[in-house]
């Protein structure tokens, strides 16, 4: 730290753009919105930040961007807290809400005000308007914009400083299917240039085709982190059985080496690592009557649902 230029140059010029979140927590009164969250956003990839509504995604993104002060832990961009970035818009662009515009101001004038604050030439306003396809609508008041156009304008603002990192909170909201496809292609292209993308969604399907890396949270805690393939292999197919004596069936199965058995409500058992034929044979041998049997498929959306609605999470609160 003896040479201030060394650290400043290291932060800005280093082609990194890594976002690290460590033990990040935020409580609003008695509510723990975010609870000890740790994850990393690597450059050159799209990181999908998933969780149901109200799981703490927006609060986390706002802590990363210095808008909300964490109760504990910290978030760093390029190794520095947001507040210490000399010109933050040059490092990170944020698409947080499509409503953040003065309705009587034109898109171009909004961008020009932002350009002045960031210190980029006025010409970049038209440049980013072109990138998001709003060049012709640039002189219209934002009050007359559709939600999709506002999302595009929000992205244009985020791109003004030519940042290394893009943070987007539910960018799909309000976009038509064409807009969503365009946004996906754009984010992939952005990441392919070696930059980082952190994009949140409450729908797995929305980021399934875009994200290389997933961070899934529920009630402010991380429940999964890894690639989509890892997510798929994290859950094995299960056989769900409803029977007269779950305990006896579980014992009988355990004796055949099947140990991954969950006790579910209403007399159901969730059995992993066995096929329906094996379960049926064992039940017959043990003399346990079977009332129903389902071979559970690995549906990603269902997996996501399972992940984010864990019973222990409820018990934890």
């Amino acid at each position: 730290m003896n040479d201030p230029w060394a650290t400043a140059a290291g932060g800005v010029n280093e082609p990194n753009g890594r976002v690290t979140v460590s033990e990040l927590s935020k409580s609003f009164g008695p509510v723990n919105a975010v609870d000890g969250l740790t994850f990393t956003v690597e450059p050159g990839a799209v990181t999908g930040f998933l969780g149901p509504n109200g799981s703490g995604k927006t609060t986390t993104l706002r802590m990363v961007l210095g808008l909300v002060t964490p109760t504990a832990g910290e978030a760093r961009i390029n190794g520095m807290p947001f507040a210490e970035l000399a010109n933050p818009a040059r490092v990170v662009g944020a698409v947080l809400e499509a409503q953040g515009f003065h309705p009587a101001r034109t898109a171009r004038k909004h961008l020009l005000a932002c350009a002045a604050a960031i210190g980029v030439p006025d010409a970049s306003a038209d440049h980013v308007l072109g990138t998001v396809g709003l060049l012709d609508a640039g002189d219209r008041k934002v009050g007359g914009y559709s939600l999709g156009m506002r999302q595009r304008l929000a992205l244009a603002v985020a791109l003004l400083g030519d940042p290394q990192v893009l943070v987007l909170d539910e960018p799909g909201n309000g976009l038509d299917p064409e807009g969503i496809a365009w946004m996906r292609a754009f984010l992939r292209g952005f990441a392919r240039q070696g930059r980082s993308v952190l994009v949140s969604s409450h729908l797995l399907a929305e980021v399934e085709q875009t994200a290389d890396h997933l961070v899934v949270i529920s009630r402010g805690r991380c429940v999964f982190q890894g690639s989509l393939a890892q997510l798929q292999s994290s859950r094995r197919a299960r056989v769900l059985v409803r029977c007269a004596a779950p305990d006896r069936l579980a014992d009988a199965l355990a004796r055949t080496g099947v140990l991954e058995i969950d006790t579910l409500p209403e007399g159901w058992l969730g059995i992993a690592g066995a096929d329906p034929v094996h379960v049926g044979d064992v039940a017959l041998g043990a003399g346990v009557a079977i009332y129903g049997m389902v071979h559970e498929k690995i549906d990603l959306e269902q997996l996501f649902f399972q992940l984010t609605a864990q019973p222990w999470e409820v018990a934890h609160r």
Binding site: T58, R62, G100, L112, A116
Partner: protein
Amino acid sequence: MMGLLRAELRKTTSTRLWWGLFIPAGLLSVLINVFGGLFTAAIPAEDGRLPLLIGSLAYALGLTTVFSMVQGIVSAASEFRHRTITTTYVTSARRSLVLLAKMATSAVVGMVYALATVVLGVLAGLVGEAGSAFPTTGALLAVTLIGMAVSALWGALGAALGTAVSNQVSALVGALVYVLLGELLISTLLRNADSLDVRRLSAYLPGNAGDVAIYDIPARVLAGPDIGTVVVETLANVTAPPPWWGALLVLTAWTAAVAATAWVVADRRDVT
């Protein structure tokens, strides 16, 4: 900081607020100063004409400062109302600099308001035949400059207040009720106290301090140095006021106090 100033100027000039708010202030100035001119000419020359326009200009300037305050409050709080504050803070991590840029911009708008009030007022006064006893250049310049300073301070104070309160309606209604009614009540109460020290406090309220600064020189020009103070006491509803420069310092201190509050509040605020 220059970039932030340019950004705030661009925000201000890209909506109608700044000139829309001046329309009523300008109309008031025209109306008041036409009468200032008419009254000047109405006094027969042999009874000794007074440059009454200097007084009507001061009155119009006093009203303009309220519009400067409103402009400051609305422009700062509209960032929260329209949620543009998210973008503002994401593009500039230093919230204190954003506050300073907003205060400076609203101060400039306040100065423009005051200058326009004087220009319109002088023209209206001339229409009303103020030329029969026109104020001296020195007095006119003094009233203009002091009016601009008071108006600038109110603009800056408004911007700080809008940032601190952030709810546009609350900040606006609260400030207007205080300036137009609350301060009148408080200073009346203070002036009815037994102790002179308590009565003197009336001149140290922000609105009264601004009025004292604006009325000080016109009152001396029109009523002479002795009765001038009494005129200021009556017009500004104060007791034993400081001179105009002292009053300006008082208003500066109030502005600094509100700015310090806004600084602390904005720094700790979670923008959710």
